[in-house]
Amino acid sequence: MLPWLTALMLALLAYGLYGGLVLAPADYQQGDSFRIIYVHVPAAWMSMFIYMMMAVSGAIGLIWHIKLAEIVSICSAPIGASFTLLALITGSLWGKPMWGTWWVWDARLTSELILLFLYLGVIGLYNAIEDKRTASRSVAILALVGVVNIPIIHYSVEWWSSLHQGPTVTKFAKPSIHIDMLIPLLVMAVAFKVYYVIALLLRSRNELVQREQGGRWLDDILEEK
């Protein structure tokens, strides 16, 4: 399945990048700098989406003691953290030419930074506890508490006035972004989702092997190789 997913992701990335960097017209206010949107916004969406995946699968592991849910939960954390970091860095690189500053302590940026710390907290806590079943339960609770941050990030630009621009895509009315700009953005978002699945599968495999050392099926696989 991995080669297929990789091919799909590369095709989507190629189309999204071409559409975003070449086909889409320059923004009438921001010129070509707006093209950062094609990595910034999908990364920011993923940072929240993966957090919800981590929290929900953490809850499933907590309630039904499903090992696989625990593994999905903890393996999502580093991927989500990297997307959060990416959203912050690209946001900074976009903010400098447009706002004249790398960083402001406004609600959107601060809550996204808190999200990064939540991810790092989850990873740190998991690594600090020796027994992985216990670690998964503790991490799930931490992740669930942190869910409160997600709507804060999403609505921060509406609740507080900010340098950050308001929502241009996820509005129930017609999005206030031109269709030629929007399509590559959505394609990039899907490409990032596929990337998440690939990275998650790779990490989950490692985590599973780590946990199941000495298991019979693992021995059988090693025998074949």
């Binding site: 070509d32 990364a43 990275a199 790779l202 092997v209 090693l222």
Partner: protein, 52 residues
């Protein structure tokens, strides 16, 4: 082409963003792959020791 690379004067910001995105995402794939290889090596080693 050079106009494209120039990005209307925002070349540094745009290309740095894309470069960092590429680096972070590539790292997120390569690291678990390398980890997996190392795991298999260690497990094989353990197994051989166990068999002797």
């Amino acid at each position: 082409m050079s106009e494209f690379l120039h990005m209307g004067g925002y070349a540094f910001y745009v290309w740095t963003s894309y470069g960092i995105a590429f680096a972070i995402m590539l790292f997120g794939i390569i690291k678990p792959l390398m980890q997996h290889k190392q795991q298999l090596r260690q497990l094989q080693l353990k197994r051989k020791r166990g068999l002797k």
